[in-house]
């Protein structure tokens, strides 16, 4: 029996997701498709089978498009409504939603923009749209990542100095490190500010300025950190040295290794102060869950 039901469901799915709508898809598929639909879905004086199926087709597209707009607000602002709409259309064709929750509808949008063959029109004007999508998805991921206690300043201060060289950092899970080609976080900051001030402005000079700046970005190396602390998601650009130190620590290498790297970058004299400043910053930002003498594979998983 499920053969008949699966045939019905596949037939309807094919028409619902057709990018130009049900009527156009039927026309494209020809008379057999039209006949099959009429044999499946009832038409009546109120509305044809095609008209009824269009309700679901519209809902499919607009519900997901709206969800994407919610998660990629700055990308939407940077592209404009029409282009974002077309991006959503192309994305849904390339990567149909597979996860049961709409929460994950945009999980491959950045990948789509940066790498998919049908996404070329969305990779420029301005450059960096893929980077912006990466940043905004990292914000989504940090928002509801697992909770974890973080260490206090006093707890850090109480560690025996003799132990530090072998200690390894354990970071909290709501933390994402990105390396972007364009400093798109500056645009997202402008967009965030605009959302706080007036989420539906007629015109916003600051955002216009940020759009102009976005269009002028030169390709470069822009390490970014996205994290959640006290239920608030934050992000900031990192200096290359801090980014490299953070990557060393994230990889599970020891504090001693981090200090050796710092010494090679800033000199033996400056390295201790620099390391102390990084530690203070990471602790204040709520990044550090703990320090351990154990290799990372032996550290207990998050609860």
């Amino acid at each position: 029996m499920t053969t008949a039901l699966s045939t019905l469901q596949r037939r309807l799915r094919e028409l619902i997701v057709a990018p130009s709508g049900v009527a156009a898809a039927i026309e494209e598929l020809g008379e057999p498709a039209a006949a099959a639909l009429e044999q499946t879905v009832r038409s009546d004086g109120k509305l044809s089978a095609i008209g009824r199926l269009e309700v679901y087709a519209n809902a499919y597209f607009y519900r997901i498009r709206d969800c994407l707009e919610g998660d990629f607000g700055a990308l939407h602002a940077a592209m404009g409504g029409d282009r974002f709409h077309n991006l959503a259309t192309a994305y849904l064709i390339a990567f149909p939603p597979r996860h049961p929750s709409l929460r994950f509808a945009g999980d491959r949008l950045a990948e789509f923009i940066t790498a998919h063959e049908t996404a070329a029109p969305f990779r420029s004007n301005p450059d960096g749209l893929g980077d912006l999508a990466h940043l905004e998805w990292a914000i989504v991921e940090a928002f509801d990542a697992a909770d974890a206690e973080v260490v206090s300043r006093d707890e850090l201060a109480s560690i025996d100095p003799a132990l530090w060289v072998d200690l390894r950092f354990v970071f909290q899970p709501a933390l994402v490190r990105l390396d972007l080609d364009y400093p798109v976080h500056r645009f997202r900051l402008a967009w965030d500010a605009q959302q706080r001030d007036d989420p539906e402005p007629n015109h916003d000079d600051a955002l216009e300025d940020a759009l102009a700046e976005l269009a002028s970005f030169e390709r470069g190396f822009h390490p970014i950190l996205v994290w959640r602390s006290d239920e608030r998601v934050s992000y900031r650009g990192l200096e290359p040295v801090e980014a490299a130190c953070l990557d060393i620590a994230l990889a599970g290498d020891s504090f001693g290794t981090l200090c050796e790297y710092l010494a090679s970058e800033v000199g033996d004299g400056e390295a201790p102060n620099h390391a102390a400043a990084l530690l203070a910053r990471w602790q204040a930002d709520g990044l550090i869950r703990g320090l351990s003498a154990m290799p990372p594979t032996q550290i207990a998983p998050y609860p």
Partner: protein, 353 residues
């Protein structure tokens, strides 16, 4: 660009309803939910209920009272009212999927609210009617959330939401056939075994019907609930919407559902779009739906009732007032013992067409 020719210029696709908003799927997808706590609410003893089957309506079905859907935009005011012990409703319902996440603020707030009032889990993605295999990872996540929240019951929809692992994020109707009854009832049975509790299934608003239908929607819903031995979440607005869209008598529907299966009622607003009514959850409950609700209550007595509002969400006070209106209607109705009581005349004031 195909999308521009298609979706973007949608005028005329649905007579009188160009670029209409999508029907509500009650997935207020917003970034806002922590750690397990234990809660003092009565819980359906599934094992006992299943052994006693058929037909034991959980006690909470008649005692839970009146609630609203929990939406992140209302978190601050709800937390304030909870802290001041000024919550005027009895319970909340959450969209399960929105809280099936590792951590963060929404889960923390859910735990806080749950420590004060019961919370029902209402899902949109169980995909009970699909021919795809049941999604074990999804059920695992749902079971974890249920353990955390300890809800009076868990519900989802009598529909299919995708096939071939392609999720359409919509509640699509099923053909009303004896074979579909067996297919869906078997899947509900496996879900109930997995969750170790009975679930309630909700009737959906539908905009199409199938030529292969062998029975009415209410016969279909009843047959599945009885074969699977599960509860029913009766969405009165959905009945009204589907009755209009498919030209059947809504009163026949509500009079036919076995009382002992009805765990809960949903009420919501809908929109008129061309020849169809669409379940948009963006208006107050309409007068005709209040009338139908009164008919249900007069037949089945006090039943857990919830107001859903998912688009153009009003202030919490407006949402709460809808739940309080439901309470007032029920109290008056049951005091008079007659659905045609004069009190019911005030319900049309809240509707608008």
């Amino acid at each position: 660009m195909r999308g521009r020719q298609g979706r973007e210029i949608a005028t005329g696709r649905l007579p009188g309803a160009s670029l209409s908003p999508p029907p509500a799927l009650h997935t207020s997808h917003s970034r806002d939910t922590s750690r397990g706590t234990t809660h003092p609410t009565p819980r359906t003893d599934t094992a006992a209920a299943m052994q006693d089957s058929p037909i034991t309506r959980p006690a909470a079905a008649s005692s839970l009272g009146f609630g609203v859907g929990l939406r992140p935009v209302h978190f601050p005011v709800i937390l304030e009212r909870v802290a001041q012990q000024q919550l005027r409703i009895d319970w909340f319902e959450i969209i399960s999927e929105n809280y099936m996440v590792p951590g963060g603020r929404p889960l923390r707030i859910l735990d806080e609210i749950r420590s004060h009032v019961p919370v029902v889990l209402h899902g949109v993605s169980m995909n009970l009617g699909s021919t795809d295999p049941l999604d074990e990872a999804y059920l695992e996540g749902l079971a974890r959330l249920a353990d955390r929240v300890d809800p009076p019951w868990v519900s989802d929809h009598l529909c299919w939401t995708g096939v071939d692992a392609h999720n359409l994020h919509d509640l699509l109707p099923l053909p009303y056939t004896a074979e579909t009854v067996r297919h869906v009832a078997d899947r509900i049975g496996r879900v109930q075994d997995r969750l170790r509790r009975q679930i309630a299934i909700e009737n959906v608003s539908s905009y199409l019907s199938y030529t292969s239908d062998e029975m009415t929607e209410w016969e279909f819903l009843t047959a599945i609930a009885e074969e699977a031995d599960c509860g029913i979440l009766l969405d009165v607005n959905n009945i009204f919407v589907s009755a209009h869209n498919h030209d059947f008598d809504a009163s026949l529907y509500v009079d036919a559902i076995p009382i002992e299966r009805i765990y809960q009622i949903h009420l919501a607003g809908h929109s008129v779009q061309g020849p169809l009514l669409i379940d948009t959850h963006d208006h107050p409950v309409r007068a005709e739906v209040w009338k139908l609700y009164e008919r249900v209550i007069s037949r089945i007595g006090p039943t857990a009732t919830l107001i859903e509002w998912d688009d153009r969400i009003p202030s919490y006070g407006v949402l709460e007032s809808e739940a309080l209106l439901a309470r007032s209607l029920c109290e008056d109705l049951l005091a008079h013992g007659d659905s045609e009581s004069p009190r019911s005349a005030r319900s049309p004031q809240v509707g608008q067409e």
